[in-house]
């Protein structure tokens, strides 16, 4: 029964044993430990869900920006008032195809222009049948929307001028009508009118509120207006999408477009614009920014509940220290030092908060997944947010566990031993 050599290790604190002591104390009060953890569980879970929803939303918006094409300006018919309140933008018909051509021709900061006339229609090939969106536009649409052709050729200005019945198919449409067969040169029917497939678009994938971007057919705008949808106002367009030459040319492009269109529409200086020019990229970036701020705000609110959970831990730890005063006295009598006692309670608080943190992470991740499956929200759970939540719950345990632990370690052994 000799314990020689123990002196060298005497400074060492017995972590595994201290850990077991802490776990046992927590198990002895299962109900209480559980309720105390609840605060942390809810806090961590909420932080995870909020971060997931937030980064999901901002990722969706950035995808939207990326897939829409970059440096986009949209021109809509109708004016916007000086106060910024949109007054019937898009309801009047003041934009013409020749406006679009003039913008393409005369605005030096503009790279490409796509006048748009869109709608939905039924497409038939053989016995295959598919309902999809039809986008009537000019040849510029491919460049403006950052589409590339997987096969075939684009349509030309000549096609637009003579309203030829040609079309470009999105990947989804091509797959659904043709399966593995080659659509090029085949005849499909859009609203019973035969069209020649001259090209297939390279897929962009899914995005935009879970919408499939490849579920589309592009035709010359004149064909869409005259043959597919018909229009009461020939030569008018719904809106024009413009691509500027670069990000730093956006402002110049906007100014040039405004000047040109005011001139073309013969507006006197007193008159307001009868069209609206919007910088789409800026709008989307602003939306992305505000989504991100919103997400951070929500996470901040969620972390308040983490803080409240921490206070709950401190509260219960103080109760625990008081209840176990005698135990502390016994431990001190047999040789427990300041940090032995402190560590025991810190580990206890840490265990509470970290177990709560892990459960919170599991619940938060599950909750975020459920939100995306059931409610269709896009959520992104990053490893960083999980680590952040875990680390934060640990910090909370450490921070709020320290004071009770400190208090325990400062007890007078005699008083503690005689505590009733």
């Amino acid at each position: 029964m000799q314990n020689d050599g123990a002196g060298a290790e005497a400074e060492m604190i017995n972590i595994p044993a201290t850990f077991r002591i802490s776990l046992r104390a927590l198990r002895a009060n299962k109900m209480r430990s559980g309720l105390t953890m609840l605060g942390i569980i809810i806090g961590v879970g909420a932080v995870i869900v909020m971060l997931a929803v937030g980064s999901g939303a901002s990722r969706r918006i950035s995808q939207q920006i990326a897939s829409m094409g970059s440096n986009l300006i949209i021109i809509m018919p109708g004016s916007s008032t000086a106060g910024g309140l949109r007054m019937g933008a898009g309801t009047q018909s003041t934009l013409t195809l020749s406006d679009a051509e003039a913008v393409a021709r005369e605005c030096t900061a503009v790279a490409d222009v796509a006048p748009m006339h869109t709608g939905a229609a039924q497409i038939v090939y053989g016995n295959q049948n598919w309902a999809t969106g039809i986008e009537g536009s000019g040849p510029g649409i491919l460049n403006v929307r950052d589409w590339t052709l997987a096969a075939g050729r684009p349509f030309t200005d000549q096609d637009v001028r003579s309203a030829t019945k040609v079309c470009l198919l999105g990947r989804t449409v091509a797959d659904n009508l043709f399966g593995s067969a080659d659509p090029l040169g085949q005849i499909i029917r859009i609203k019973k009118i035969p069209f020649v497939v001259i090209g297939v678009l390279a897929p962009k994938g899914q995005s935009m509120m879970g919408q499939d971007q490849d579920d589309t057919v592009i035709v010359p705008i004149t064909t869409a207006q005259r043959k597919i949808f018909g229009t009461r106002l020939p030569g008018m367009v719904r809106h024009i999408v413009v691509k500027a030459r670069g990000t730093d040319e956006m402002a110049a492009a906007e100014a040039q477009i405004t000047e040109l269109l005011r001139e073309r529409h013969r507006l006197t200086p007193r008159e307001e614009n009868d069209f609206t020019v919007r910088n789409l990229t800026q709008i989307m970036q602003a939306a992305e920014q505000s989504t991100r701020i919103m997400a951070l705000l929500l996470a901040a609110i969620a972390s308040v509940s983490l803080l409240v959970g921490g206070i709950g831990i401190m509260n219960i730890m103080l109760v625990s220290v008081t209840e176990r005063t005698r135990e502390i006295g016994i431990r001190m009598a047999v040789g427990a030092k300041t940090w032995d006692i402190r560590l025991q309670f810190i580990i206890e608080a840490l265990t509470l908060s970290l177990i709560g943190g892990v459960i919170g992470i599991v619940l938060g991740v599950t909750g975020a997944k459920l939100l995306s499956v059931l409610a269709g929200w896009s959520t992104v759970i990053s490893v960083l947010s999980v680590l952040l939540a875990f680390g934060f719950s640990g910090l909370v345990g450490l921070f709020f566990g320290f004071y009770p632990a400190y208090k325990a370690s400062q007890l007078n052994p005699i008083d503690a031993l005689h505590y009733e």
């Binding site: 314990n3 123990a6 060492m12 595994p16 046992r24 001190m332 040789g335 300041t338 005699i414 031993l417």
Partner: protein, 229 residues
């Protein structure tokens, strides 16, 4: 060399406006291997003396040497270490950890001096066995009789090979028969293992097991004489 050497040890408790002299210039010397009984009426300062000797409490004035080392004016952790290595406590109320097995209770002092888990377990088992508690290792204090609990506490006091055992009314909560058993244990520990024992008791029959009786009154030592067997 003396094991315990106190020099005009005093302990004064302030109580409201006045103060209580729980110890009043107590000078006592105990040599290694002695078995000392401390007696005296209630409130005479016996427990206070034991607490100071046990480094659980600090004297107001006076000196105290343990194994020749000045123990006064040490910080908390230094005192904790002295308690861990030099002193084994046996209390009237046993002071075992509740909801904790006998074995783990005995292991307790070794949690704080770096003995590995296997060795800890082995030493605790051996200590319990020596006190006749083989087979009771897994029992919790509430599953043991008073005498058994006190023997677990003694096993705990012995396990670190502390040279000094301090027992404040160890038989106070036990019946006469069990008290005698416990006292015989102390005698054996003192005689065979050479442990120095200081034991507080109110009962002359219990004190008679010792080799020397120190009597306290109002914080002072009023007599200090060997026991004639």
């Amino acid at each position: 060399m003396a094991l315990i050497e106190t020099d005009r040890l005093s302990k004064i408790y302030p109580v409201g406006e006045t103060s209580v002299r729980a110890l009043d210039e107590v000078s006592v010397t105990v040599r290694p291997g002695e078995f000392v009984a401390i007696m005296g009426p209630s409130g005479s300062g016996k427990s206070t003396f034991m607490n100071v000797i046990g480094c659980l409490d600090e004297p107001t004035s006076g000196g105290y040497r343990l194994e020749g080392v000045d123990v006064g004016r040490r910080d908390r952790d230094a005192l904790a270490e002295i308690r861990n290595r030099k002193i084994g406590f046996v209390f009237q109320g046993f002071n075992l950890l509740p909801r904790t097995s006998a074995l783990e209770n005995v292991e307790l002092p070794m949690l704080y001096n770096g003995i590995g888990p296997k060795e800890r377990r082995r030493l605790a088992r051996a200590s319990l066995k020596m006190l006749g508690l083989e087979g009771r290792e897994k029992h919790h204090p509430n599953q043991l009789s008073g005498g058994q609990q006190q023997r677990v506490a003694i096993a705990r006091a012995l396990v670190n090979q502390a040279p000094l055992i301090l027992a404040d009314e160890p038989t106070g909560n036990l019946d006469t028969k069990t008290s005698v058993e416990i006292m015989e244990l102390f005698v054996k520990l003192n005689r065979d293992a050479g442990r120095t024992i200081l034991l507080v008791t109110h009962e002359p029959d219990i004190a008679a097991f010792s080799g020397r009786i120190i009597r306290f009154l109002d914080g002072r030592v009023i007599s200090d004489e060997p026991v004639r067997h």
